[in-house]
Amino acid sequence: MTATAPIGLSDLRSYLHGLPGVDKVGVEARAAALGTRSVKTSSKAKAIDLAIRMVDLTTLEGADTPGKVRALCAKGRRPDPSDPSAPAVAAICVYPAMVPVAAAALAGSGVHLASVATAFPSGQAPLEVKLADTRAAVAAGADEVDMVISRGAFLAGDYAKVFDEIVAVKEACGGAHLKVILETGELATYDNVRRASWLAMLAGADFIKTSTGKVSVNATLPITLVMLEAVRDFRATHGRQIGVKPAGGIKNTKDAIKYLVLINETVGDDWLSPDWFRFGASSLLNDLLMQRTKLTTGHYSGPDYFTLD
């Protein structure tokens, strides 16, 4: 399905700038207030399992090797070897070159395979290169593609260019799900985050994602709150539900639970599922497992009891 904007491209600018503004002080206060929710005992146990199921376990390093990626896939399929009741993660996220290895390692597991593409993380490449990147990843077995938008074009006000690129990448994805990385740390303002979210949704994104994890400001609670409000309002007006993925900087269970609270009280049940919310993270998983073990056994185990893959 090729997405079409309900408006002409020439109207994109007035449309995006006509969205209600975001008050910085207010949105940060709201996120901080939700961050004080106390999630304990049985609800904490449920939250931890849900969070594990929402993890896009990620390795995006120049030093990634087939061995490293295979190990990560094994970890994603069975995060806690000592406890088979621990759920698998949502997906493994790797560079396109590593997709074939990961595809083989994940075969039959039900764990999704996501690949970053489109000249990740900068997005500074010609469109043809980006599309080839995308097609290669999908052809090699990725069923989810995490693309980056051209922040340069967005900040220059060339919304049509960003829109067209997303449409083109979506088409190149074929049946693969498209996550659009806004790189919110480079967009700088909440107004821009809201506009970029709408732009990506209008262009056909299946998910909107905060960050590459490669810049200094990655996912934050208030940024994710603004994006959740965007998907909520988009579904109300356009009838299509879009997922949200904060990525980068979410390191422990406490943080992850704050995000779940944010979903719970902003968009509700419909998004409390790995189909509609993901954490782009690597070290988060072990903390979730550690807290999970603590809840079941009543005591903390040292980090040596959890695998480092």
């Binding site: 503004g21 008050d23 207010g26 206060a29 304990k40 049985s42 904490k44 939250a47 779940l260 719970n264």
Partner: protein, 474 residues
Amino acid sequence: MFEYAPAPESRSVVSISSSYGLFIDGDFEPAKEGGVFKTVNPADEEVLAEVASAGPEDVDRAVAAARRAFPGWSSLPGSERAKYLFRIARIIQERSRELAVLESLDNGKPIKESRDVDLPLVAAHFFYYAGWADKLAYAGFGPDPRPIGVAGQVIPWNFPLLMLAWKVAPALATGNTVVLKPAETTPLSALFFADVCRQAELPPGVVNIVTGAGDTGAYLVAHPDVDKVAFTGSTDVGREIARTVAGTGKRLTLELGGKAANIVFDDAPIDQAVEGIVNGIFFNQGHVCCAGSRLLVQESVFDLVLESLKRRMSTLRVGDPLDKNTDIGAINSAAQLARIRELSDIGGEEGAERWSPPCELPDRGFWFAPTIFTGVTQAHRIAREEIFGPVLSVLTFRTPAEAIEKANNTPYGLSAGIWSEKGSRILAVADKLRAGVVWANTFNKFDPASPFGGYKESGYGREGGRHGLEAYLA
């Protein structure tokens, strides 16, 4: 929605005596005539403690103790008085968990508010005025401003300890001594504060606390040896006090009721405005004199705002005040609950449309679901009278001029809110609103450095900030 398991703050962090005396001249003592009253937990109607009811003789003794302490206290160098106030502020911080639990038990407010709003502000207020104590000559009230003498202070039940701080901190910083009467339904945190004064080794008689009902307060403000009266509470009682004090030469400040307009323009940041509306009226169960109880929404965004507001209200968690996840606690008293019910019923009878989110209220205690009325006009009683509960009246307007006219069309003038992304509009509208505090793109924000007070029937005098010193200086 995933449900949060109960997360109650421990009630045992604070010890409550079965009975309390009056705090006079540094000691607790029973009332002369032996009168007592009970204070209950509004969340379950259980009696928390028996408290002495001060009669005229008790008030006499308290005022006499304050008078005796005045020469010594007022002649201390400001820097010495500051030491006591800083000490009090630090003790309040150290004991804030106890105080937060106590406040929630006696008042019914959610622990997250007593913990995150009341107590930090109480400590901040003492720190702030401690800083002024040795700088009074530079406050703009002359080179050598003098204290007035004995201050008689009567405070309400909605922010028991915070209102105490608003009254006591500036009075002590400027060298006055005080006799304070806390509200009948919420005396416990003031009595705890008496213990804090002792812990800080405040000289006896500088702070005296007489508990009791309206009679006790009436006797205190009428006392001939009280030099300065400060009252926060209802406009009706404020009027009575003004009559009592008229012609006596006593200085008087009144902080009374309100019916604040919270104005949402069509260019507002809608999601944050909705948060501000919720905070404006449901914070502290709406027991807030500056609550944004009249929502004025520009007609072009009315549907959007109302739908967002209803959705947001559906996530409010009403219940056990000690649960850390509770957003709305108990109504403070049966009497207040009756008043809220009466005015809400009148709202319905007068033709406004009433709506509350589905929410289960506990069987025992005093509870009222968060409620909004739409289709309200300026002629409705719920648009004119202070309800002092979680009840919002929603009105609409078409132009800025109409918004200003409606906002000002009230006998009150304590606060107002403006929501717009356009700075020039905010400034232009704020300039025309007759309200003591005007919040822009926020609501119910307090800071000890900011003066607070009303226009018209919302009272006179200012509390907080440099301005707050004036009421306690001759």
